[in-house]
Every structure is written in C-alpha cells, then in structure tokens.
Amino acid sequence: MLKHILTSAVFAGIVAGLFAAIINLWAVIPMVMEGELYESGERTHFAVDGSPQSDAGSPSILEDPARHIMPAAFSVVVFTGYAFFLVAAFALAERYGHKTTVRSGVIWGLCGFIAFQLAPAMGMPPQLPATPGPEVVPRQLWWAMTVIFTASALGLIAFGRGVLPIAVAVVLLFAPHIIGAPRLDTYFGFAAPELAAHFAGASLAATALTWTTLGLCCAWFWTKLKQD
C-alpha cells in the first residue's frame, strides 16, 4: 500500500511540480521580480514629486537564469508533498468503497486548490516581496488551521450522509475567517496596487491550473500503477 502511494505520488509530484515551475516562470515570477524593484527602491511609486505614477514592466527572467533553478526544484518538492496528501486521501476513500477515477482526480485536485490556496487567500492573499506583514508564526498557524478545516469540511460535504456533516462542514469553512487572519493595522506596501492585484490574481490562477493537473496526474498514476 505504502509503495503504491509513494510511487504514484512521486511521479505525479514531479510532473505537476515541473508544470508549476513553467507556469510560474511565465506568468507569476516576472511580477515577483518586478515587486523586488519596489522592495529595493530601484523603482518608486509616489516618487519625489508626489506623482503616483511609476514605470510598468517586469525584468526578463532570462537576465539571471540561474536564480530560477532552485525555486523550480522546490516547486517539485512542494507538489510531491501535496501529491502524498492527495494519494493518501484516494487510499482512505477507497477503504470506504469510493473508487478514484481519472475524472474524479480532477475534482480532488480542485478541492486541493480550494483547501490549500483559495481559502487561505481570503485572509492572506498572495503578496509581493515588498509587502511587510505581521509575525510569521501566527500566520503559518492560521494558514495550517484554514487548510485543515477547509479540507475536512470538503471531505464531510463529499462523503458525509445527512444534515449533521453538512452543518459541521459549514462551521469548519467559516470558522478560520470569523477568527480572522493576523493582520497589521497599517498598510505598508511600496509596490503599485495594480501590480499587487495582478500578482494575486495570476498566482491563484496558476495554482488552480497546477492543482487540477496534480489531481489528474495523481489519479492517472494511482489507477495505472494499480493495474500493473
């Protein structure tokens, strides 16, 4: 069982992680690099004359190709980690008679996106490098709580019977947002708001795409490696 989970998850994690690295390099990382221009002060919004305008345009990812190697490797590690969760969930669902198919894998992937990216983004949206925030540990705890609560709620909605699981799921879905993510009581951002908004949107879209791919790959390897 463990071997079947491990091999499916590692193959799926590598495919989805590399896919994530390419999508991020194309659509997200250039904006991280543009945000760094504001972080370093090379570009300033509301420059000396009080004008809010600043140049738009991201540095080319080809300027320093070496810097992109390690983040790409880490994206494979992260998605392999997520793949372990997904495939373990397949195995758990099958113990209760819910077979995983390639089609249901896509739904699993989308639920992973909701639990790991979309729900936490409601309290802590994707942020550019130039954005000061509160203490990191409370934010990590809030993130972990939101992910666990949301994933549990989605599981209850998908597999629960009757009204009680749905009621518990609704409480779990809302609780982290009623408690609220740690925030500063002041805005400190240096970067242009257009860039920050575009970055948050692109980051969520890229992770939605990658999680869908991850669900598909996990289910494909999971069903394929079982037959052999």
């Binding site: 463990l2 989970i5 991280v32 983040p71 790409a72 992260v78 113990r95 949206p125 490098p129 980051s203």
Partner: protein, 62 residues
C-alpha cells in the same frame, strides 16, 4: 481445522487493513515533511533558494 483457517484468514485481513492504514498515515507524514521543508522552514538557505516559489504559491514565509 476449519476454525484455524478462519482465524488465520481474519488475522491476515486485519493485518492487511492495518498496513493500509499505516501506509496512509506514513504518506501524510512524508507529505507534511516535504511541505514544511520547502514551504515553511525559516533557515536562510532554505528561504533564499525557495523564495520565488514561496511567493508564487503564497506560503506565509516571512
């Protein structure tokens, strides 16, 4: 004889069930270790080398 076979079959079945559950728990723990090291570890070398990915994937990392 028949009883012995039954006992053996039951023992085997619960062994298989336990192994399945252990596999699931093991996989979740491995996933958590990978996620923590790539997304959350604060050591400077881990942070710097994963920096762009952490921002792109919205990990609360610094």
């Amino acid at each position: 004889m028949n009883d012995q076979v039954k006992v053996a079959a039951i023992a085997q079945k619960s062994d298989a069930a336990d192994q399945g559950l252990l596999g699931i728990i093991g996989a979740v723990m491995l996933g958590a270790v990978l996620l923590f090291s790539a997304g959350f570890a604060q050591a400077t070398v881990m942070h710097d080398s994963s920096h762009d990915m952490r921002h792109a994937m919205a990990f609360p990392c610094h």
